[in-house]
């Protein structure tokens, strides 16, 4: 029964997201596209509802949240129907009805198999096992559910300092919503929730890629994305990196749609999606701002509309993004959770950078020694290594080079590449200045944490690679 209630809760939020997206793209209704965006949009809006309830001092109970979501479903349903009656323009977002060949079906089978591989570990181990997944995100989710609000946890932030109370917690709030629907803490349900974000990311990727290449090529690159080892590995753990990646990708693809459509509601949707990205993790906001800047600089809007107008558009987007993020900031400021930024700025950044430089060779040496241990090497698949290590980032480097140099390039693909490069640069700088206790700590930062952090940039980098290789393939859709 509790699983049925969880499914009902998730379906409600997905329905809300579907209806909202149908309104956003009212002039170009495409059911498959709306379905791809439905879960990220619906869960993001549900989290915004929960934040507003918390700000109003209302409990985050099942009754309140589901009640508001139902009201929103009715409102968006009515608004969608009204808009559709006003504007019956034919869809031009749906690609031509090209037949799906045998290869396409084989690739679909491979994709479904890969998704099944992400689900199987949940059946094997139902609980959340990864340290950060339970100590940070799971801790918040459980606390928000047990307390039916955020006050119990945030007011005792000192006790739970290990779970980084100030960190924005979109995934935790959504997990708490699922727990509320079920009436108990069920960690496997939280893990399933993360698989839904992972699948939404893949689906969105395919929907966007098929605009620029034929269906088979689009599905091939979606399979490649699903097989990037660490991305697939973390698709079910309960961490927020893949969730952030899903929202960043949804945000930039919506921006690209706005570049072509020029509808204000699409621009608003892009800003809200990037705001949702900023609610996923601390670095969500700077990454969203980098993405906005990269998009405005690399797309035709700069040349077509002039620098001043482009700057205004970027500012409007940034304000919209920050408006969503501010819901969490306003909430956290009510409680004594400390000020991370002031702590960060008072530390000796220069000496940290110098120490990092001094210790880097020793860390590299230690890392290489560890990688030389045979049992460490044999536990991963060669194919995974091939895709994850030998091919991915070099392929991205070549793709980025082509995107920078070639004429007639896709501005969206270029925007993806620039955002991925700037994002990696941001993470590198952050890690270079991050405090550490000893060499082991530093090694952990570079080897275990960095590859996890850049996960959110993998979809952007993959799209850049895909366009660079298959972007001119025949069967382009509108």
């Amino acid at each position: 029964m509790s699983w049925f209630l969880a499914a009902a809760g998730i379906l409600l939020t997905t329905l809300l997201g579907f209806l909202i997206w149908q309104i956003v793209i009212a002039k170009r209704p495409d059911v498959w596209e709306s379905l791809a965006y439905a879960f990220p949009v619906g869960s993001g809006v549900t989290v915004i509802v929960m934040l507003l309830l918390a700000l109003l001092g209302l409990p985050l109970s099942r009754g309140y949240v589901v009640g508001v979501v139902l009201i929103l479903i009715v409102i968006t349903g009515i608004a969608g129907t009204a808009l559709r009656k006003l504007d019956r323009a034919a869809s031009n977002a749906t690609p031509e009805k090209a037949g799906k060949g045998l290869l396409w079906w084989c690739l679909l089978g491979a994709l479904l198999f890969q998704i099944a591989l992400v689900v199987v570990p949940i059946i094997q181990e139902r609980s959340i096992g990864e340290w950060d997944a339970w100590a940070i995100w799971g801790m918040k989710a459980k606390a928000f559910y047990v307390d039916q609000g955020v006050s119990g946890y945030l007011s005792d932030a000192q006790t739970y300092a290990f779970s980084w109370p100030r960190r924005p917690a979109l995934s935790s709030l959504m997990e708490a919503f699922v727990y509320s629907c079920m009436g108990r803490v069920e960690e496997s349900a939280a893990r399933v929730l993360h698989v839904l974000w992972f699948v939404s990311l893949l689906w969105t990727f395919y929907i966007v890629a098929r605009r620029a290449m034929n269906r088979t090529a689009a599905l091939f690159w979606t399979v490649v994305l699903s097989a990037v080892p660490n991305l697939a590995f973390q698709g079910n753990l309960g961490l927020s990196n893949v969730v952030l990646g899903a929202y960043l990708f949804a945000g930039i693809t919506t921006l690209d749609r706005w570049r072509r459509d020029r509808h204000a509601r699409v621009l608003v949707a892009a800003a809200v999606l990037l705001g949702m990205a900023s609610l996923c993790r601390d670095e969500g906001l700077p990454l969203a701002l980098i993405l906005i800047a990269a998009f405005v600089v690399t797309t035709q809007s700069l040349r077509g509309t002039g620098l001043r107008k482009a700057a205004l558009q970027a500012t409007a987007l940034a304000i919209g993004t920050f408006a969503v993020k501010s819901l969490w900031i306003l909430l956290v400021r009510r409680y004594p959770t400390g000020d991370l930024m002031s702590e960060w700025m008072t530390l000796d950044i220069f000496s940290r950078a110098v120490a990092h430089l001094r210790d880097a060779p020793a860390v590299l040496r230690t890392a290489l020694q560890e990688l030389a241990v045979p049992e460490h090497q044999t536990q991963s698949l060669h194919l995974e290594n091939l895709i994850g290590l030998a091919l991915f980032w070099p392929a991205f480097a070549i793709a980025a080079l082509r995107l920078f140099l070639v004429r007639g390039r896709d501005p969206f693909a270029l925007g993806c590449a620039v955002t991925a490069i700037a994002g990696v640069l941001m993470y590198t700088t952050g890690f270079w200045l991050f405090p550490y206790q000893n060499l082991a700590d530093l090694r952990d930062n570079w080897m275990f944490v960095m590859d996890r952090q850049v996960l959110c940039l993998i979809p952007l980098a993959t799209y850049a690679i895909a366009w660079s290789i298959s972007g001119n393939s025949p069967g382009k859709a509108g």
């Binding site: 080892p229 590299l364 890392a367 290594n385 480097a397 590859d451």
Partner: protein
Amino acid sequence: MKVRAIACFFGIALAAFYAGASMQMETRSIRKAYRSPSHGAIELGTVLEQSVIDGCVRFVRPSDVLAVLYTETNPAPDVSPVFILYRLAYLAYPTRFDSATIGEEGIPAALTHLPRKPNWVLLLGKRANVPGYEEVARFSPTDVLLRATGAPQ
């Protein structure tokens, strides 16, 4: 063209660096081979850690305060006080937890350093009689759970 060249240089340099440095799949196994609590190495803990955690969860209630006192030189290296503390805080929420190291001054002094008086004390790495507390569970010769005397059963 200069801007493009610089951007290309950065892109290639960084991508080449991460191709070698991230070693994504290898870290998956190394992550489990090392036990550094700071960055997610411990996963779900050892059998002994699990027994300590399960035992404490069975006894404590939401309104309780449990203090974890541990020695810096724990004779049972398989027990990580940090892991137990964090995991307990997660599993037994909203039970409140505090922690302190047992220094040369002993357990009573460590108890005075806590922000609130606990009605449960978990000693890790040292078994001792603590005035005002009685032993209710022993997980290993040096890991014991104490309850404040007079507290409800």
